[in-house]
Symmetry: D3
Subunit: 136 residues, 6 copies
């Protein structure tokens, strides 16, 4: 069993808030992350997959195919986008990094199985001081 990780990056706007709350209540609960005019981040995404090394190629998985898959299923949908308004797999959810990690896991899990590996971890940096990890 070996693990390989691919890093991708995306830039997006988001806001943490509940529609049922007033702006004041959102500010109280979510702080400056609730700004109604949005703010944004350079997110760093680390996708770790696991499996056996193919003795023919020396690879666990074709990294170009893995990168292409992450771009199609995640980056193209979220990069330079508004997470709350425009990202299909985040609709109806709080745009927190925790939910982003779970949402990206669900986007990728089945397709990675088709590459001959298993998804092991989704790790997302929202800033240099905070990151989330989800193992399914």
């Amino acid at each position: 069993m070996i693990y390989i990780t691919r890093r991708e990056r995306f830039n997006a706007a988001h806001r943490l808030f509940k529609k049922a709350y007033s702006d004041e209540k959102n500010l109280e609960v979510f702080g400056k992350c609730s700004n109604p005019n949005w703010h944004g981040h350079n997110y760093e995404l680390f996708v770790t997959v696991k499996g056996d090394v193919d003795p023919e190629t020396g690879f666990l998985v074709n990294l170009k195919a893995l990168s292409r898959l992450i771009r199609e299923k995640v980056i193209d949908k979220i990069d330079h986008k508004n997470i709350n308004l425009e990202v299909d797999f985040m609709q109806g959810k709080m745009a927190s990094t925790e939910n982003l990690a779970i949402g990206i896991w669900n986007e990728l899990e089945n397709d990675i199985a088709q590459l001959g590996a298993s998804l092991h971890c989704i790790k997302i940096y929202e800033s240099e001081n905070n990151f989330v990890e989800y193992f399914g």
Copy 2:
């Protein structure tokens, strides 16, 4: 003459577009940075000041005072904000990194002189692959 640099960070949403253009025209000129629903970044700001070392303290400038000044004049206005809609010193300008560097220079130049140093450079990273420098 010695140079000292203080790094600060801010997260903000922005959009590159001209009001006179249609969304299609903005997309043609500014690419995905023109997304009408905004996107955002973790910006890194480096403020470099220059001057002589005070023989009493061994300092060019009190770094805490410099950091406080940058926070008051820049970070508090722009962090977790929408650069196009909410940042006073960016009103009426394209929200490009180039204009951001010039705008932050103008915000800080006089106050840094009052700390007993001269502003030398504003450097801003918009992403790990792009940064702008402005020397006045």
Copy 3:
């Protein structure tokens, strides 16, 4: 189950030595880390907690509260301090990174439970080439 990590930093002086040894013997066993006049580091601390996402907020834990807790229980006690002489939770122990990780775990474990999460890992970088991880 999801994991979130908060990074904090502190600068401190320390020395590796045994009182029962002479300076020569300490030098032999601990090398230049035994310098009787101290040396120091910029330590990076990563605190990882785990638990379930609160469906109301989308958070595992309030990151500001976590950061405040780490500051109160760890950073305020150790930043710009001498680890051997001034840090209560390191008294009577070798000031190694290993013991620092265990000491910080013990400082934080109960209070993190009160935030509604479980402490998962304390990771400390002493330099860019060395880090320690402790999982309790």
Copy 4:
């Protein structure tokens, strides 16, 4: 149980290819990594060992001894070398990062046991976007 990680670096040339294939076939399967004239990388190697803290020293393991061991068994053999042609523990294998991690594990496992710790993980960055982990 505590974990300590030592980072070392090496620069090397390599090529991904099968002798049984033509250059065209290798290009098709391995892309530009199959360049017959070689290419190369700055590899970053992270060796993680685990065990108990020695109450005498506060150490899991003497980091200088660990670093010396990694240099003797790995870095001296691979730094500024051609992985395909010159590295004994990679002969007869694809020069992939996956195989490199497994090869380095095998080089180090027994000797680390003699330092009084257990090898836990070999992690290798081939570029800032890709890394492999092997846990034995």
Copy 5:
């Protein structure tokens, strides 16, 4: 006058040696960088251009066009290549980082002028501990 920098990366093999020398003499003069079987690096390239901000766009230069130019004139020629054997603008020169910086300057200078900016600096990291800057 404002300055903008674009980072690109490439991986390549190279060797420092003089054909007129024996392998022993090359080893004496160039150390392990003279390995006849090559070694390699992950190079980081920073291209800084300068000029005036276009009031229409807020840009000094279209960064996508700059990135495309660097890829066409430099990255496509050198990435996953052997610098000594395959890179046209390095033929007949020592494959040192110094000469690489000068060679890349000459590749880019005229074309950057056609983008409406002036080339200011070529900076190349060969490793995390060494970099070269060339200002023409």
Copy 6:
């Protein structure tokens, strides 16, 4: 004219204070950096030299010789030391990063001339948020 930079690192303890002041007065002027029990840092030192490329070697300067010089004149004197008490070129001066940069410049300037290059800049990071540059 070309510029090459070598990075070296050192860990040291220091304190900012004036002997003529009481501990209270020092705390007022220098903040927590005045702690009488010392604190410390992982310093990063960047030494930039300039000159012409030697057409024989393709080098501005032999980087190994430059590194050896920095180690002999600076790192061996300051690494794992107390800057206030043990570093000869800092005696009688405030142990600020500004003075450290000037002190290291004076240590290196003449010897770098003997390597066939000119010292251009001493840059020192005291933390990830602060660095000083001195150009003589």
